[in-house]
Symmetry: C2
Subunit: 352 residues, 2 copies
DNA sequence: GTTAGCACTCGACCTATTAGAGTGCTAACA
DNA sequence: TGTTAGCACTCTAATAGGTCGAGTGCTAAC
């Protein structure tokens, strides 16, 4: 049995109706609404087929039908194909966009929080955004300064002007000249290097050149490695609107709500989502995970829509919307599309 | 009518039983359990009085009694008085303490997250902790470094070794000598000053001394002010275990759960709690808010226990536990007490 | 292949009915 | 006068029975 044109139309009708009402939809409803005037009996026959094929489900024998994960998948694929076409046809006007406008923010953190909030309030679903991640961590500048007699502070600037600090305690006081020499050594050797490329041999060579001060070099390198590692480990993720899940009865029971909230609290689970999205995202950069498809265990009852935004070559992050499987995919896809676009242009202006 | 000794005993028995079972407690239960052997009838009479006095409530006519906010308040006050005594008598042994032990953490943020997590998993309630706030922001060290030709990075270290960075774009390249001069000027003038004490006249004087470079001075001062202000505005708060509320049926219905989760998401509400605690905390530093007493609107159905920890003179933060009104106050008070103590000693060791 | 018709199913909702826990009150007791 | 036994009463939670209606599956006719 294959999915002929009529079956497709009926399936889409069922899903759309269900998305609007949130209740199982019966054959009569479809027979009335649809352009292809067919009796409820015929619809019923087709529906039976669709159940067999796994596109829709019957909660119980004498109830209407609801879409299965497979059904949603069909719908979303269809929808995204349409969107593709639309976007080629005309540049979208930005009418419903006002609410989306993100205030100009000076700090990255604040900006990201605002984006998350904007997303969640606009869609009424839960939202998340990951801080941009620098795939290549290239060192730009290193500076050691003496803070107190036995204590220096290392300032490490990497590509994209992310700044890290590390305080280093030293055994013996260090004089200005040596400090200057160390700074020269560090910068001439390391500037422009990717963190991954700092090999042991380079470090050994630097230590040799540093002579007595080899210990400090080691500490600085450690500090560099440490701060980068820390950065990789806990990818910053901002969330907003987790409480929105309570608006959807199918997610609001204790068991499920607790799982979802937990995922939002323990950002580690969301980290998965980010990596998954970054690695699998296709050319469009938008990804839809339905139910069981979700990379986050605790969100198997949700749908998750993610997208990557790009700040600059090799620097990107992920935004995501988490809601019920019967979410308004149309709206969510538009919103997320617009937002990534806006983010891109914003970063261009805001690049510091 | 006043609260005589027998009434007190009965009241405490009711509350303790309710804390254990979570169900309305009847007169028979009390008459059996209690040392002061009285018949259920007598207990009933007393209970009626206690209802009149507002210490306990009757969910419906033929049900047992549950404590009112006023009842809980009585219980907690009693408990805290006892604790006071206990602590004077003997230094508490640290037997149940293992789980509480917080791993040594190098970064403040990670430490705070761990503390929050430790609190929530140990108590099975929700927990929060605010980053330590420096009441007096004293400048310790300022360093300008050239990063690129037209760009310098200002590193600002304040009391407690909190480090802020600010990138400053300048119109014309600056030479090493001038940079050195500026650094000297900044440090000799500002070191050791409290932020609040940097007056306009001081700034004017510095600008005058800086001559051509007055613009940079202004930018640095702005950066200092800015970074301090940003710090004050969004007080960092870390939370953990919000999902624990689902373990308590009286908090787990949609309406209430949503409110509580929202409070945890929008940290602004928790900020209130921190300020409230900091300003009102008595000598012991532990505060208990029961139901309506809570400074956080969305937590009127919870009890909130907070405490201040002190890192150093004038530097403190707040930890808090949020749970149902029938929380195990005894355990919570002990835990929070121990944790603040441990935090204090940890900060002493970890002070860098 | 499509449709009308009809018996059937099953959850949602409403209404007793019952059981049990707990009360309030009265009358007797120390 | 405070305490207690006894008893009728109240109210909830749980169970069972009954009805309604939406929706189905199937058959037979078109």
């Amino acid at each position: 049995m294959n999915l002929d044109d009529r079956k497709k139309k009926i399936l889409l009708a069922i899903i759309k109706t269900y998305l609007e009402t949130g209740e199982p939809v019966g054959s009569r409803t479809i027979s009335k609404i649809e352009g292809l005037s067919l009796s409820s009996a015929t619809i019923r026959n087709e529906m039976a087929d669709l159940v067999d094929m796994g596109y829709i489900l019957q909660p119980h024998t004498s109830a209407g039908r609801i879409p299965s994960d497979k059904g949603y998948r069909f719908y979303v694929d269809q929808l995204m194909a349409e969107k593709e076409m639309e976007l080629e046809e005309r540049e979208r006007e930005t009418d419903e966009m006002k609410g989306l406008l993100v205030e100009k923010a000076d700090k990255m953190e604040r900006l990201l929080k605002q984006v998350a909030r904007s997303l969640s309030t606009n869609t009424n679903y839960a939202a998340m955004i990951s801080a941009p991640r620098y795939n290549i961590n290239r060192l730009k500048f290193i500076q050691l300064s003496r803070m107190e007699a036995n204590r220096i502070v290392a300032v490490i600037v990497v590509e994209g002007n992310m700044i890290k600090n590390q305080i280093i305690d030293i055994d013996e006081p260090i004089d200005d000249e040596t400090l200057l020499k160390l700074n020269m050594l560090l910068n001439t050797t390391l500037n422009g290097m990717a963190i991954e490329d700092i090999s042991l041999s380079i470090i050994a060579k630097m230590k040799q050149q540093a002579g007595d001060q080899a210990g400090i070099i080691a500490e600085v390198i450690d500090a560099v490695a440490e701060s980068i590692k820390a950065d990789e480990e806990d990818l910053e993720i901002y969330t907003s609107g987790a409480n929105n899940i309570f608006k959807y009865p199918e997610l609001a029971d204790n068991q499920k709500a607790s799982e979802i909230i937990t995922a939002f609290e323990e950002k580690k689970q969301l980290t998965n989502l980010v990596y998954e999205t970054l690695s699998h995202s296709d050319e469009r950069g938008i990804q839809v995970y339905i139910g069981e498809e979700s990379p986050v265990e605790n969100m198997k009852d949700c749908s998750v829509v993610t997208a990557t935004y790009e700040l600059d070559e090799g620097i990107h992050g992920t935004i995501g919307i988490i809601g019920p499987k019967r979410m308004d995919y149309d709206k969510v896809l538009s919103t997320i599309k617009k937002l990534t676009t806006e983010l891109d242009s914003m970063f261009k202006k805001n690049e510091r």
